[in-house]
Chain length 456, copies 2
């Protein structure tokens, strides 16, 4: 009978084993019972762009690595599985095997903050088939979500043309954990700060905040609300001025003569109001007081505001960014591309309708012009020596990470540098051209051969 | 400097204090420093429907209650806050206060699985202002997400017309935690099962699964894959038949003469393929073998398939349901509606552009006809005695829950019963009519009086 069996269902480290789809575990049992133990290689990639996207910003690798390092099945997890009717005919040996299972595979991946395109592997796992199978679900949800949001945030940051963007989205994210992870992805994508305090504590992202309408409403008057806030936060006063009437709010700030760093507009016609507020502030010499805008913003709205000359200095973006609202899912997939059988590497592909995959472990070479601008990518077999920057690097060997985590601001800078090397027409808000990803001769040959071998 | 400071950034119980927006904590400091300690009442409600929605199914209350019971600030949390520049002028007393802070408020809410409409409070908190403020962010993200997904799932379940729907969405959810919580919300909305094993362990939801293409590709032939799977799972064999060619896959099932419970189609033209597969199975007497369909399904697609007579027995729905892809955010808000000042209750409202709120603690009465069909809701002041079913009930008093959690299947049944009492035209996939929510005379009067008091 379905019921909430545990208080506060937050995922714990000891839950990570079960944090997968049942079929990964039934397949694992199938491999075990049939003595199938070969080493498999799976690749994670995106089949096609979500609407309006013309590049993706890879993210989530660090969380994936930490999952590989931690994932296991404790006694409670094993007990739950043994009680599930699907496993009624499965031998005790399988559960003993799960109990000691740790991820021992090799992982290759593109670094976080790398610009990637459809069909290009973001991550490749080579591991005993049972391990490679079980990790699929958690790996996909992690890379899919972080990449989705980093990509969206990079669009928002681009629209803001260098003006700072803060993530204000946790309240509309898909739960508190999604809010925390979104803050990380938004920072990678170019946001300068977040309102999520835990994201500051956990990731070191700068945390910003002002006050809400409830502050203004909690005291007797807007005037009193402004004065009292400024007293407590003299170096950090951004006053929300639209609780009752935005322009009166702005005049009140001026009349009070408070040394405030900024004012925030959260409703109404932001283009018109920001102009009028700027005028009110400037006429009284408050030329240094910044205007912060928030309220259902996204890359299109910000672009429109700045194109129209709205004097807004900082954007707070929430819902639209942390849910990637115009394209709220990334269809990353995880496909078997080869396996080792008796020392021989056998390439694999799926031929089902519209979903054919390229077989074999792959590499992507990125070719640039003399100024460093990306010209094209070559998707090829992993052993094909090519000119260009190889995007995929080894990050774990036999279950151990090879390098310390990169600091988030290093990832953010790398993402920014990469985007600067992508021709402007591939990063318009309304994409006009598709960046060229070419499939190499050797990969085409391998695909044909593999398809033929299956059809015979 | 931003960096991943902690391995595996999963939210822990001790993180719940910081799992909020900074401005909640700066306002809390503002209240503390100004000696503002009154009791405040906030209500959580949705301003308007997301596209295509004509009702909402409230969910997330249990997670919210567990948060209220658990949320606190430990030493690390306090140390982080003290290090944040915003709090440079805030006295030690505030941090001492935070260190012992627990939620001591009263909570009123509509039960999970209740059909609700815009402007109707889903939850009301009456607590010391500092507590009521700090909990806003976590509360919103929890109720917004669970309500969003329960609502979406109820549309998918309705489209399936009584045929079972399983949630297959974790891999495309907004991270693993969102996948787990989505499974819960999908079950409330009417799904019969999930593929997420942890959701089975934590919530007791039935967990289902078949096999993936990688299973078929891992062995020498499709025939071998089918036979081996059936041997390990004789009572629970659903074979995925589209890895190479769906109809050949179906014929292979028949030729092998395996006693399989079902076959799954995951690609191609599901309407045509399901018919052909049904014919192949039936012709060989496998009339009991079910057809499971998956692959980018949603309520519109399922409706189309069943309207066209596709012989599909069970639907696996992923991405579209767990991200509520056509409307991926619910704009629930949390607004101050009244506060107690010197024993006097003062109603509050915000008048900013297009965002005016109704003041005062409220109740919703639902009126039905003699057959129990919902006729209209009356949104009114909490002290207004009215005919009808009062939707809002007390669930916590002084920080303590009043009742044990409801079993999830009870919530699911209640949701189903409620939806059956909602006239069919208010639950079409393409809504045609708006269910009437009337604002009572007493609430209108209070709104006018409150607005006048502010404008004076």
């Amino acid at each position: 009978m379905a019921s909430d069996k545990r208080r506060l269902p937050l995922i714990k480290e000891s839950d990570l084993g079960l944090c997968t789809d049942l079929y990964q575990l039934t397949m694992a049992a199938g491999y075990f019972e049939n003595g199938i133990e070969h080493t498999s290689t799976f690749e994670l990639f995106v089949r096609g762009f979500p609407p309006k996207r013309s590049y993706l910003l890879a993210a989530g690798l660090e969380q994936a690595i930490e999952y590989f390092e931690t994932m296991h099945f404790d006694d409670d997890a094993i007990a739950y599985l043994r009680s599930h009717p699907a496993f009624g005919n499965v031998s005790k040996g399988f559960f003993d095997c799960l109990r000691t299972l740790r991820f021992t595979g090799d992982v290759h991946a593109v670094p976080e903050g790398t610009v990637v395109f459809p069909d290009e592997p973001i991550l490749r796992i080579t591991a005993p088939v049972m391990e490679a199978q079980i990790v699929e679900t958690y790996l996909l949800t992690t890379i899919n979500f972080e990449t989705l949001i980093a990509t969206k945030a990079s669009r928002v940051a681009a629209a803001a043309r260098g003006k700072p963007v803060a993530d204000f989205g946790t309240r509309r994210a898909h739960g508190p954990q999604a809010g925390l992870w979104a803050a990380r992805a938004c920072f990678i994508g170019g946001c300068t700060a977040t309102s999520n305090v835990l994201a500051g504590s956990v990731f070191g992202i700068p945390v910003v905040g002002t006050a809400a309408h409830s502050w203004t409403m909690a005291v007797d008057s807007e005037e009193e609300a402004f004065r009292r806030y400024q007293e407590v936060f003299p170096d950090n006063t951004i006053l929300l001025i639209d609780t009752y009437d935005t322009l009166e709010g702005a005049r009140r700030v001026v009349e009070l003569g408070l040394p405030v760093q900024g004012v925030r507009l959260d409703s109404g016609d932001l283009a018109a109001l920001s102009r009028k507020v700027r005028k009110i502030l400037d006429e009284c010499g408050l030329t240094e007081t910044k205007i912060v805008a928030s309220g259902d913003l996204n890359e299109y709205r910000i672009d429109e505001l700045l194109t129209g000359g709205a004097p807004i200095d900082l954007f707070g973006v929430g819902t639209e960014m942390v849910t990637s609202k115009d394209a709220p899912a990334l269809a990353g997939v995880y496909k078997l591309v080869e396996q080792k059988e008796d020392g021989r590497v056998v390439p694999k592909l799926k031929t089902s309708a519209e979903k054919e995959t390229y077989p074999g472990a792959k590499q992507v070479f990125r070719q640039t012009d003399s100024e460093g601008t990306f010209q094209r990518d070559i998707l090829t077999t992993s052993d094909d020596p090519r000119a260009g920057i190889p995007l995929i690097q080894e990050v774990m060997r036999e279950g151990k990470r090879l390098d310390d985590p990169l600091p988030l601001d290093v990832i953010q800078k790398e993402a920014k540098a990469q985007l600067a090397r992508l021709d402007e027409r591939y990063r318009r808000l309304e994409p006009e051209a598709a960046y060229p990803v070419e499939v190499s001769e050797s990969l085409r040959k391998l695909t044909d051969e593999t398809r033929r071998a299956i059809c015979e």
